[in-house]
């Protein structure tokens, strides 16, 4: 499946996590990212999709290409109407030192991508946006 235009994918079951990975892999590869960068992007997408499934049950993943000042890139948005993140700063620190894979989803994704924005409201939901630029 070739996706150089934008698109969206509804997440509602555990098996949607691997589907999300495939969609993102195809998209990032089409845009010309290196293998290692594709791996980073797909891994971040896997983390953030799993977060949606586990904390909110369902949500949306959207992707689109970026073009700014002669640079190309991609943006992924992860949106849910789940419980929200009580303390975003803390969530971004969490799990860094344990190294066991617990709580690494959000801070890990931030390290793998070039930019991350988080908007979350308790009881309403969360929107996480990540971007990566072609070097």
């Amino acid at each position: 499946m070739i996706q150089t235009q934008q698109g969206e994918f509804h997440i509602g079951s555990e098996s949607d996590i691997v589907l999300a990975r495939k969609l993102v892999r195809d998209f990032a590869t089409e845009l010309g990212f290196s293998l290692t960068d594709v791996t980073r992007i797909v891994t971040a997408a896997s983390e953030l999709t799993r977060n949606i499934y586990h904390y909110a049950g369902s949500g949306l993943m959207r992707w689109r290409p970026l073009s700014e000042g002669g640079h190309a890139g991609l943006e992924l948005i992860f949106e849910d109407q789940g419980p929200g993140i009580p303390d975003v700063d803390k969530a971004l620190e969490a799990g860094f030192s344990t190294g066991k894979g617990l709580g690494l989803g959000l801070p890990g994704s931030k390290r793998l991508m070039d930019e991350m924005t988080i908007e979350s409201h308790l009881g309403q939901g969360t929107v996480v946006g990540v971007r990566k630029w072609l070097k």
């Binding site: 290692t36 970026l66 700014e68 000042g69 002669g70």
Partner: protein, 283 residues
């Protein structure tokens, strides 16, 4: 050079316009071609325009006055609320400076340095904003070219060599920032996998000083190589570097280090021999 447009309601030039008068000031601002100097009303609509603005942004005064200044920003910046935020900050701090991509009338983008200043009357009420913008696209492109070139030079100067069957060596020169680390790890790990080498010698003789950042990046590289199933031997560790590493509290207890590349190669061969011995012992 586009013909300068006459801004609306401009008093005719007369031979007797005194210097320092508001009129001569307006003439001066208008004639500046290298800077876009414009005024915005309190809600961000364009109230005045100069020749520099026409040159840099492409609009003639008659077609832009009254329009909201967010049309100069990229769709992305508008979606993120950047224009409103800049006005807010200018109103709060008095002035706000920013660099970023802006959009011309024809849709092309340029790298701008802009300073927005809040204009207030004697009572402190906000009357509007002044915005001075410079087109720095050429400078930015030159900077990026230099970065790209130095990146290429660094890649050429730090190859990963296979020194023996099963041993690769990579000399590190200079310090390791985030980007260099990525490139270095990429080259080193790819080579380890390609050559199926259980030992990687990382020589840091060419690293003049080691700060926390470089040390962390070095540790990160070593961790990644371990995940592959290979071992790192750190060579060229000079006494000063060893001292710094200890002072930084970096734990190197499970990394093999040697002061010279030659000693490192010896260690590598010992490791490989042990693997052979181990294999034979199992039979």
């Amino acid at each position: 050079m586009p013909k300068p447009a006459k801004p609306a309601k401009r008093a005719p030039k007369s031979a007797g316009t005194p210097l320092g008068s508001e009129e001569s000031y307006r003439q001066m601002v208008d004639s500046v071609k290298d800077y876009a100097i414009i005024m915005l009303d309190p809600s961000g609509r364009v109230a005045s325009w100069n020749q520099g603005a026409e040159r840099i942004k492409g609009y003639r005064a008659s077609e832009i006055i009254g329009k909201d200044f967010s049309c100069f920003y990229t769709a992305d910046a508008v979606a993120r609320g950047l224009p409103e935020r800049e006005l807010e900050l200018a109103a709060k701090e008095g002035r706000f400076e920013d660099e970023g991509w802006r959009v011309r009338k024809d849709g092309s983008q340029f790298w701008a340095n802009a300073i927005i200043s809040a204009l207030r009357d004697v009572n402190g009420a906000l009357r509007g904003y002044s915005k001075v913008t410079r087109d720095l696209t050429e400078r930015k492109q030159a900077e990026e070219r230099i970065q790209q070139q130095s990146k290429e030079i660094m890649e050429l100067s730090t190859p990963v060599m296979q020194v023996w069957q099963g041993v690769v060596a990579a000399p590190l020169i200079g310090t390791l920032d985030s980007q260099r680390t990525q490139q270095f790890m990429e080259r080193l790990l790819t080579r380890v996998v390609e050559t199926n080498s259980p030992v990687a010698l990382v020589d840091i003789m060419g690293v003049p000083t080691i700060d926390t950042q470089t040390a962390q990046h070095l540790i990160e590289t070593i961790s990644a190589v371990r995940l592959l199933g290979a071992q790192v031997v750190l060579t060229g560790v000079r006494p000063a570097i060893a001292q710094t590493l200890v002072h930084l509290g970096i734990d190197l207890s499970d990394i093999i280090t040697r002061s010279s590349l030659a000693a490192g190669i010896q260690v590598a061969l010992d490791i490989l021999n042990l693997q052979v011995v181990g294999k034979n012992a199992g039979r």
